[in-house]
């Protein structure tokens, strides 16, 4: 059926019709009956309030190039069904970080409903309030309070309506278990009976969230709400969506970045039964109902490319970056560097290097696009569904309202699923063929088009006095960005300069795309800073923990350092102590972390075995401690990769990895004993949890390697070759 946008009784039929069914899972975590509820109740009704209320305003913001404000109407955040179940709406998405659980906790807490009665609807542009994207560890910090405030107002409105319905003054009403009841009286009405599945029209301005002392769910452990769907294979990812008449696309790719297609002969591909070839401008694709058959047909295309000469590779990149670096931006400074230098007994100067690192989520970029007249529905593995909606609208020249992006579960992202290239490819092909088209990148495409964590250089000159006080800190970071760059020690004379943006640098800075990678910039900056601090400590013969504490005024950092030292069982010693112990600390997304590690270095092979990692974290009020610990463990395990093995090898625009055989990510056999501690900070606002615990992994292992072997590693990853080189340099000196 062709559909013009017809509006009847204020309900957009197209949007209603585009509602989900069981196979096309609308949103992570939404049980089938919930999907039916939304379907019956009408996506249309929800759309009716969320679009007219906020769309005009948001469009205005969008035109000004600003983010859009969150809706004022609490109904945009939640809905109470006739069955009493609560749907929570967020533009944030779930890629493993666990907000599907913590956001449900926030809603259930404030509404006084059981946690298992809340279902989160996430990253659906038709149903959820606008959101700029899920990155930067901002979900709980910034969306969390808004969600809680919406729930507080919803509850106040429910109480006000109950007061009228029950004929009881609202001061005598309490809430519990999804109902309003009379204190010391028999009268009771459930939220479901009040809301009747409809938008709540009553508004109560200034309704404050309940005091933290009354919290019963926030701060308590909750198991992942997506666990059952994920262990049974029922959880749907973008590659799992099926549509009638679906074609799977495989796209002809250049062998290296920057290559130009000279000629392609598609005749062989056309002979594959069922294969359809699309050629339009730079896009040559094979479509087939089965992806493996599309792959076979693609392999029959003969292509010739003009390859640009390789001018830089993974060894020469650092010199190149220093050469092309633009003028620096001073991001922090204080005192007088000359004074700091003259006060110093020792001045240490060092350069630290980081290679390109891949995101390498196990789910490759996936999307399914379906056109219906001038409307498009798109299921995509994306961290930015609303930005994608804009991208699609602009690509197709249609209004944003005609594009619905649905974000199913995402199989890992880590900053790498923000560009949406695969989704736009699916959209283009769906438009060209008139059929639903699915694009699921191969692993080789994933490595080729990944927006790598940028290679970066840090130069530090620092001075320390005879008594172990840091007097000078002159820090320059090239191409990692400023996140985590400003130091937090008590250093009277300091300067921090950032050269070149972290992940959106001037064209030509990198031979391929770069982008945000879990705690962008901070891994590089923390590696350099904390390695250098350790070297200063060693220079003055002080224990590295004692040295840090002596040079720190920040109370929160003192607290995490002391906590990690206690949990680890640190006893003071001058490094290298031969124990293989390391320490590092840092801040990210408002959270303070300190790590300690124990390693064993095999001096013959140069390999490092990380035996134990302990992490203490102060993250403000923690919604779900078990979920936060899961993130800490995950970050520590993932961080072993960039510390020890992960490095994108390349020659010009050619990426020399196409799979996990040569790009090695952490395995089970690398697993150290991991211990975590979340410090109590219930009186502070929510801070970040997804990114902070990875930032110390380079430095904590480098410092442990130094403590164990005496070899100081100045480049990540610390491969066996680099460790052997550092050890032989040590012997020769």
């Amino acid at each position: 059926m062709k559909n013009e946008s017809t509006t009847q009784n204020g309900v957009d039929e197209d949007i209603l019709r585009l509602d989900f069914s069981e196979v096309k899972q609308a949103s992570p975590g939404l049980p089938v009956d919930r999907r039916r509820f939304l379907q019956l109740l009408g996506g249309g009704i929800i759309v009716c309030f969320s679009i007219p209320d906020s769309w005009a305003l948001q469009e205005g913001e969008r035109r000004r190039g600003m983010g859009q404000p969150l809706p004022q109407d609490f109904n945009a955040f939640l809905r109470i069904g006739e069955d009493g179940r609560v749907s929570g709406f967020t533009g944030k998405v779930e890629y493993g970080q666990g907000i599907i659980t913590s956001m449900a906790q926030i809603l259930a807490e404030e509404l006084d409903v059981p946690l298992d009665s809340v279902d989160m609807v996430m990253g659906d542009t038709d149903l959820c309030p606008w959101d700029m994207g899920t990155f930067g560890t901002m979900s709980t910090r910034f969306f969390g309070p808004a969600l809680r405030a919406a729930a507080a107002e919803a509850k106040a409105a429910l109480i006000a309506l109950a007061a009228e319905q029950l004929q009881v003054p609202k001061e005598r009403l309490r809430t519990k278990g999804g109902a309003v009841y009379e204190e010391a009286g028999p009268k009771r009405v459930s939220y479901a009976e009040i809301a009747k599945g409809q938008k709540i029209l009553r508004h109560v301005k200034g309704a404050a969230p309940k005091p933290q002392s009354e919290d019963t769910l926030i701060g308590k452990n909750a198991l992942r709400r997506d666990g059952p769907a994920k262990v049974t294979g029922q959880a749907k990812y973008a590659g799992d969506i099926r549509e009638a008449g679906l074609l799977h696309a495989r796209i002809l790719r250049p062998p290296v970045h920057g290559a130009k297609l000279i000629h392609a002969d598609t005749s062989g591909a056309r002979e594959v039964e069922g294969a359809q070839i699309v050629e339009e401008g730079d896009l040559i694709a094979v479509l087939h109902p089965y992806p493996d058959m599309a792959e076979r047909a693609l392999a029959k295309i003969k292509s010739q490319y003009d390859r640009p000469a390789a001018s830089v590779d993974d060894k020469t990149i650092f010199d190149y970056l220093l050469k092309v670096a633009p003028q620096g931006q001073t991001v922090a400074q204080g005192g007088n560097l000359a004074e700091g230098r003259s006060a110093a007994r020792y001045v240490l100067e060092q350069m630290y290097l980081n290679s390109y690192v891949s995101h390498a989520p196990i789910e490759t970029h996936s999307a399914l696009a379906k056109m219906d007249g001038n409307k498009l529905t798109l299921w995509a593995s994306t961290q930015t569904p609303f930005a994608l909606q804009d991208q699609v609208a602009s690509l197709l020249g249609i209004a944003g309202q005609n594009v619905r992006v649905i974000t199913p579960y995402i199989g890992g992202a880590f900053g790498g699923k923000s560009n949406n290239q695969q989704a736009l490819e699916a959209v283009r092909l769906a438009k060209l063929t008139g059929k639903p088209v699915q694009v699921v990148w191969t692993r080789a495409e994933e490595f080729f088009y990944d927006t790598f964590r940028p290679a970066a250089v840090v130069k530090i000159q620092a001075g320390v006095t005879e008594s172990g006080l840091i007097s000078l800190w002159d820090y320059g970071v090239y191409f990692a960005g400023e996140r985590g760059a400003p130091q937090f020690y008590n250093i009277p004379n300091h300067r921090t300069v950032s050269y070149g943006s972290g992940w959106m640098p001037a064209p030509g800075s990198h031979p391929f795309a770069t982008g945000p990678w879990r705690a962008p910039g901070n891994n590089t900056n923390t590696f350099a800073r904390e390695s250098h601090i350790d070297m200063l400590a060693a220079k003055v013969g002080m224990d590295p923990v004692e040295f840090r504490l002596k040079n720190l005024n920040d109370v929160r950092m003192h607290r995490v350092l002391q906590a990690v030292a206690k949990k680890f069982g640190w006893s003071p010693a001058r490094a290298p102590s031969k124990r293989g112990y390391g320490v590092a600390c840092g801040t990210d997304a408002g959270t303070y972390v300190a790590h300690m590690a124990e390693v064993a270095v095999d001096k013959n092979t140069g390999s490092v075995r990380v035996k134990r990692v302990v992490c203490a974290q102060e993250m403000g009020l923690c919604v779900n401690p078990e979920g936060a610990r899961l993130q800490m463990e995950g970050a520590i395990t993932m961080g072993l990769g960039y510390a020890l093995s992960e490095e994108v090898r390349f020659k010009g625009g050619e990426i020399l990895h196409s799979n996990f055989d040569t790009y090695t990510i952490p395995h089970f056999s690398w697993l150290p004993q991991i211990e975590t501690e979340i410090l109590d900070a219930k009186d502070s606002p929510f801070q970040g949890g997804g990114e902070p615990p990875i930032i110390c992994m380079g430095a904590v292992i480098a410092n442990a390697v130094f403590d164990g072997s005496g070899a100081r590693l100045l480049q990540l990853p610390m491969t066996p070759e680099r460790i052997k080189a550092a050890l032989s340099k040590l012997q020769s000196s």
Partner: protein, 158 residues
């Protein structure tokens, strides 16, 4: 080119015409609609596509259809019996032994094959057996714990 290939899938006999050189993964996901088995690397390097073939864990992305003729295949969808989660599935839920969940079906199927042959594995045996299954989120510590825990709860009959 196509042949009729028959096998048992999650306890039920299936038989259909298919190109025998196609990989089982794609047939499961597209022809048979079982999307719990995931594509991760296509070369048997990550384990996301692990299924059980005649009691052994196999990488379905590199297993041709002709190799499964007459065999018994179990996928993640076949582990739940009468709505009751398998002890491994339960343990993965109870230990929060997953994050994004994409590698989870392959993890569980590979662990299942371990417990079939080694009902009470040591931690070392678990790590060795699971080493080729990749998880990018870093759920490893809890996956090991979940497998240890499940091993204690699996009835002897297994």
């Amino acid at each position: 080119m196509k042949e009729t290939i028959g096998f048992r899938l999650n306890g039920r006999a299936v038989s259909f015409e298919v190109d025998p050189s196609r990989a089982l993964l794609w047939v499961l996901r597209y022809d048979l609609g079982l999307t719990g088995t995931k594509y991760g690397c296509g070369e048997g390097l990550c384990g996301a596509c692990t299924v059980i073939v005649d009691g052994k864990a196999e990488r379905s992305c590199v297993l041709e259809m002709k190799a499964v003729s007459g065999k018994a295949i179990t996928t993640i969808e076949g582990l739940t019996k009468n709505g009751e989660l398998h002890p491994l599935q339960k343990a993965f839920v109870e230990h929060d032994a997953l994050q994004c969940g994409y590698c989870t079906p392959g993890m569980i199927m590979n662990a299942y094959s371990l417990l079939l042959n080694t009902p009470h594995p040591s931690r070392r045996q678990i790590i060795e057996h699971m080493d080729g299954n990749l998880c990018r989120c870093g759920a490893h510590q809890r996956i090991v714990q979940a497998i240890q825990d499940a091993a204690e709860h699996i009835p002897k009959a297994h």
